[in-house]
Symmetry: D2
Subunit: 327 residues, 4 copies
């Protein structure tokens, strides 16, 4: 079927490619003419602007917006709403806040425009492996788009089938789900990313403990100099901590066991923070997910103001003077 | 080759089975005559006691102790030390504290007995999938036992090969490593379990947030009733949070989406606590791994004394009276 | 001077009392006629409704709203805005979210109505000891109300003077500050409460560790049966952990050392959650304040869904069956 | 009465001074001749070595050891044990691990030497304000030393009396307690310090959130530039977060509101770590106390290895490249 794609960055571009490989027709637009040209050379139909993209599609149209959350996505959806016809579908495949989805879907509904939010995981691997998709929206719109989702998803793949799924929605086993009404897709994707932070931090702490087992502060008889690349590798087989994130760790450690090519200043996206806000609203204790986020906050500072206050209190109470390397 | 196995529980019994399938010869002992009989019926050579087991093996002997950490393991190793001959090998495959390994290896060394510690992960799946093993001990002893480890390990399996491992120890890709001297195997296994707790807690919090999105305390327009079994399933394909623990979650949720067959009272083994002690000794911040352990502590109590003190302070300051269900 | 008070609960009532003791004149209203009657008997001027209260005051009027945050406060302020005259002042002394203050002040400004937010700490002790106040609003309005704040605040008191404060705002030493423009008062109070949660939790955990030192799970030679009431008492003198919260703990423990009169189900108010949201917005790591809040969330549930999932994963991996009391 | 003091550092020297002010006689020794000379000039009786100190005291002797925990304390106690006579008392007033106390008391008991452990809080303020003391040992020995403890303790002081203490041990209200048998004093002091870390961290995070409310990352209308020195000051009066640590924060912030005279590299002593180990042994969830410790560990590093691993995983999954200042 036909799909319009707005935003041809790493994610948008590869989604187009995977769709075209499956025989779908894509009309593409990006604010970078270069990006459009590249995709056009691979078989996509270029559009000069939003209007051109809309005109290049046959109704009922499906337009996928794959832009940074916030302003760029919001503005584009507003513009599209003025160009599309009743029955058309806008898909937000980016990382929007799910409450924005709820608001947008309600705003588009009187115009008979459908709004579908798709949380998409796949990273740089999605083109080859397929994308895991969590979808929110009306049943009609999501069903209409099924050929698109089926083409993008990984399919059954080589993972072992989960027993006891007879009678359940078969889409989950192919790599996509219709999670619920507008916003549900992004909500599930948001929590997915929150979990991702927690998983990453669990490995980070574990490898930190392994690494520092060679510390000169330990009694000599209790020091080990461990091969972290081999440890990551061995855990990939038969161990309960095997995971994709471990596979990626094994790749990074095999490349450079000291990870000296990284500083350790770690960015965070909105989804980690929104996950905590959801936990606060629901009164769910989310210690690990919060901590995983705070480690990232901390990693981007030389020292917090709070740490200075700790030193100040120690000085005022016990007369302690700071040392650069404490004990 | 020949191996003596002491302890024929779930782990010990299946290790014997997997070794026999690979053509190795096993002499087995357990304090339960029934357990011995079962394995004997499957081809193992039964021993009536430790002495019988030692006599049933040809020197240099290899005896694998697969018993609960602490007293049972300690007593058995002490007894074995009096029965074995110079050049024999004692393998502790259980979950011993690594400092006990260091002590034991040093105590056995003057008698020319070798001590090998094997951290073993595999659960109820190990018989079929193979065991992931982290091994500590002398090079000579570990090399001598290589046929045993090779038979127990999963082998290359179906996971994608990690690029850039040329020239590295090929055993890691087969599912076992020689981590270092005595204790190193159990140390790596200990941290492995610490990580496991952290990973599990990350999923637990995430699914808790998904589950409570249907809470009546939320504005109605922001509630979703999510299918957790389908969510776990869809994340198994193409998503960065895919892992074995997620596979297991998907199985459990497909069986019973409300998990009403569990109370939520969660045990912890020594390894989670020892991981935190290691972090304390190394001055490594281990927030997530600690929290994951504390959640388990908390899960086994109705209320902590600390919570009562919180209520008491609130009462004494603000005159607040407790409600069973707070707000 | 004159003050109108709306809301004669524990806080509002005592504020009126303390003001009257200092010679101020109070016009009072509450939806409970009984509450009005009680205060009137103590010298306050009763009003039958909001209009009556406004009519009972001479312009420029000052009306203090002391109601639950959210609906009650919002509705009352909206109603007052229709009754007051240019130059009058509305004071929100409750626990409103500071972003609501910013919005309200902006909405009232075109009508030339002043909006002052006062974060008030004092609990059941405020009547006698005075209230600590953190104030937001325009300089003119805050200065105009100074006699009110001066009367409510504790004054210099018996605490030792902080050296080096010459040239600084003397109000801080009397127990009130003009923190900044609208919302700043409630923002500071909000963080104040966030800190309170953290402080409380630090004591809670410490006393929990003291309490459980008598646990039968410990080696007998390492058990102590400690007198928690005496410990709380001794720390009140000369120790760096002395504080008001410790004083309150000492009172509660002297009353009932096992705290068996409390269940340990702990409520939380909006301010603890908003503090974490502020930390998220600012990218400040707030581990302790978050945890303190999560402990309260957890304290109100028998088990979390997350804990059930932990049990489920343990069962599916290792075949572990839950025990009511784990190990 | 008479007391021998070994170790004339900040704590030991001031304890001697406070005892002499109360009319007690002190025989003093330190490895620094200068330190001995200083105290001798103030009225103490100098000793040239341990033997001289023992000889300078009349039996039954009381010798207070005030040295760094670990080697220095251990060696000195061992040496004293060879010099003292049956019925003499050794007091360890430092920060020893309580399990060392248990061991030492048991070792000295056959020689009829008494061992008393005193956890002492007071910092640089103790000389004037008195020391809060938590004492472990036999009733006989602790009672014998009562005049010493009474002189060192703050006494009733100016804090309000806790109601309901009739019939309870009056020593707690004077600032010292007999907590239990050997080790109990240091155990209580250890948890005291654990709590201290937690309290400090609660303030640290709160002030960090206040400080960063001026961050340029926030919408301009929601920024405040708050006076932290005045906030700390105002909370000292009438607020539930008032405490000694807050008093100290107020002093530090009045001196230098940006705390630019501190780097924020924060040391930790053994007691914080031991508190967590005790929590692990007792299965008490100690999230806040652990986190407070981990913040200090983290504060002494530029980046953890764990943070580098986070960056590595992000790079391998999503192709993310690190930025020095993330988002």
């Amino acid at each position: 079927m036909q799909l319009g794609m707005i935003g041809l960055g790493r994610m948008g571009g590869n989604i187009v490619r995977r769709l075209m490989r499956a025989g779908h027709e894509c009309v593409v637009y990006d604010r970078s003419a270069e990006a459009i040209k590249t995709l056009a050379a691979e078989g996509a139909k270029p559009a000069a602007d939003l209007k051109g993209l809309v005109d290049g599609l046959t109704a009922p149209r499906a337009v996928w917006v794959m832009l940074p959350a916030g302003g760029p996505t919001e503005d584009t959806i507003t513009a599209l709403a003025g160009l599309l016809s009743p029955g058309d579908i806008i898909i937000d495949g980016g990382n929007s806040f799910y409450k924005d989805d709820i608001r947008r879907a309600a705003a588009l509904e009187p115009k008979d425009l459908h709004y579908v939010d798709v949380g998409t995981s796949g990273g740089v691997w999605g083109l080859e492996r397929g994308y895991c998709m969590m979808i929110g929206g009306t049943k009609a719109a999501v069903d209409h788009l099924d050929p698109i989702f089926a083409a993008l998803a990984p399919g059954l793949g080589t993972v072992e089938r989960t027993p006891g799924r007879d009678g359940r929605d078969p889409r989950a086993e192919k790599g996509y789900i219709h999670a619920g009404p507008a916003g549900a897709g992004h909500f599930v994707k948001m929590v997915h990313n929150g979990i991702e932070y927690g998983l990453m931090q669990a490995y980070a702490e574990g490898f930190d403990i392994l690494k520092n087992k060679e510390s000169k502060e330990l009694p000599e008889a209790e020091r080990y100099s461990l091969d972290l690349a081999d440890i990551a590798e061995v855990w990939r087989r038969g161990s309960v901590v095997s995971s994709w994130l471990l596979d990626l760790s094994a790749i990074a450690l095999a490349e450079n066991e000291t990870l000296s090519n990284y500083t350790g200043s770690v960015a965070d996206s909105g989804e980690g923070r929104w996950t905590i806000m959801a936990a606060l609203e629901e009164a769910v204790p989310a210690d690990v997910l919060s901590t995983a986020l705070y480690v990232r906050f901390r990693s981007r500072q030389e020292h917090t103001f709070g740490e200075k206050l700790l030193s100040a209190m120690r000085n005022k109470f016990g007369g302690h003077v700071e040392r650069a390397a404490g004990g």
